[in-house]
């Protein structure tokens, strides 16, 4: 119970701070708009190319906006040395990690929902034909992204070149997630049932479990480092 309460208070703090400052959300929103304009220019009005590229574009949008959001995940902790307070807090530090992951996950899912709507409007495509299937795929992909992204954001929080190092470290680790997510998204957009992409969903779920477990086991050491 105490563990869950400690995770919850970190999530509560992050969401409340973001709701008031809107710093990350505003940055992500304009970044997403910029991406959509770029995609629009790159692909033009060719519907066939657009349909083929849509799953990749979607996830490119999610990953790039996620990088911006996750890169700021520990900004508040660096301000006023709050990091030290987290380090000295008694108890299992993985509760803090899970709270941060949950906060990042909520933020990313919100931005992704906005991106989906913007994609549908900008490219005049129907992304809502199978909302439940799409939600499962996006949810699994984003959970893994948030889990490993939060961990790497913590690792690079005190590194001078963190803006460069963070994506360089994170993107290669994301390859299995990205592969599974894009393939599963493509199948869902083509109207295939989830059962047909069970192996990709299995890959996503396994990656989520591994990333979360690694995060839970190593976050204490990362805070102390």
């Amino acid at each position: 119970m105490t563990y869950a309460r400690r995770s919850w208070i970190v999530l509560w703090k992050d969401l409340l701070s973001e709701r008031r400052s809107k710093e990350t959300l505003n940055a992500l929103f304009f970044f997403a708009l910029l991406l959509l304009f770029l995609f629009q220019f790159a692909l033009g009005a060719d519907r066939e190319r657009l349909t083929a590229a849509m799953p990749g574009l979607l996830w490119l949008g999610f990953i790039l906006s996620g990088l911006v959001g996750l890169g700021r995940a520990f900004l508040a902790e660096r301000e006023n040395d709050c990091w030290e307070g987290l380090l000295l807090a008694p108890g299992d530090k993985s509760a803090i990690y899970l709270g941060k992951v949950a906060g990042n996950l909520v933020l990313m899912l919100f931005v992704e929902a906005v991106l989906l709507v913007l994609f549908a409007v900008f490219f005049d495509v129907d992304l809502g034909a199978h909302p439940l299937r799409l939600t499962v795929v996006i949810g699994l992909g984003t959970l893994g992204f948030a889990a490993v992204g939060t961990l790497f954001a913590a690792m690079t929080a005190h590194v001078r070149a963190r803006e460069v190092l963070f994506p360089v470290l994170l993107l290669p680790v994301q390859v299995p997630l990205l592969l599974g997510a894009v393939e599963a998204t493509e199948a869902v957009l083509l109207g295939e049932p989830l059962g047909a992409v069970g192996h990709w969903l299995g890959l996503l779920a396994a990656a989520d479990a591994i990333y979360l477990t690694v995060g839970i086991l190593t976050f204490d050491a990362i805070l102390e480092a």
Binding site: R6, I9, R20, C82, G85, L88
Partner: protein, 239 residues
């Protein structure tokens, strides 16, 4: 636990690569005692506090708080220590009440509205309890940090320049609070650059110079001028 002094440091050395910050430092703080740690910039005062707070590991020697080893029993040490560091540990977009609720919940402390309001009232921030910290002055953030320490009720206080940024009124409140803390058997180790207000609550003075303890003496009836002369002599000898 009464057998163990709240703070005991023996032969402590801390080096960052080839740069030795603390060398063979030994110090003890007894229950109900406040020790003022003074020394020029870079003398190792903050490093010593950070080792005792378990934020840094010593290179050699022993540092114990409440009988627990700071390097090997960090979790137990943290349960006894209240640290007031340079950073105030406040989240700018939360209110003081929300900040205290966050740290209290994370630390497993009482976090009901009454407990939080009481801590804020103690540092006279209760009137701005629901305003965002972003609008606060440095001194107000410092007082909020003190409220966090008050809430935790530690047995050992490690204070890094506790009077910095505080106005006269807040400084007096701090001295009164530290006096009460000592009277209840608490131990205080604090760094200061001020020979006036900073030494007001101290029973002993420990002077660090070039990483070594140059002097450890009771303040007794020494005036600030006496202390300044001692300090200058110790620092010259130490360098």
């Amino acid at each position: 636990m009464a057998l163990h002094p709240p703070i005991r440091v023996i032969g402590l050395r801390k080096a960052f690569g080839a740069h030795v910050v603390l060398d063979d430092v030994s110090l003890e703080v007894r229950p109900g005692e406040a020790v003022a740690l003074v020394g020029p910039n870079g003398a190792g005062k903050t490093t010593l506090l950070r080792i005792l707070a378990t934020l840094l590991r010593p290179s050699r020697g022993m540092a114990r708080v409440a009988g627990y080893d700071c390097a090997r029993e960090a979790e137990r040490v943290r349960a006894h220590v209240g640290l007031l560091a340079h950073g105030a540990w406040v989240y700018e977009d939360l209110t003081p009440v929300e900040n205290l609720r966050f740290w209290a919940t994370l630390g497993g402390l009482p976090h009901g509205r009454d407990a939080l309001s009481g801590a804020l009232a103690a540092v006279e921030l209760d009137r701005v309890a629901d305003e965002r910290v972003r609008t606060f002055s440095l001194g107000m953030k410092r007082r909020l940090a003190l409220a966090r320490v008050v809430l935790a009720r530690p047995s050992v206080l490690l204070l890094d320049e506790p009077h910095a940024g505080l106005d006269q009124r807040a400084g007096k409140w701090l001295d009164a609070h530290l006096g009460g803390f000592k009277a209840a058997g608490g131990a205080i180790l604090m760094t200061t650059h001020s020979f006036g207000r900073g030494l007001g609550v101290a029973d002993r003075i420990a002077i660090l110079a070039a990483g070594r303890l140059a002097l450890d003496a009771p303040l007794g009836g020494l005036t600030p001028d006496d202390v300044r002369r001692l300090y200058e002599a110790s620092v010259e000898d130490g360098v």
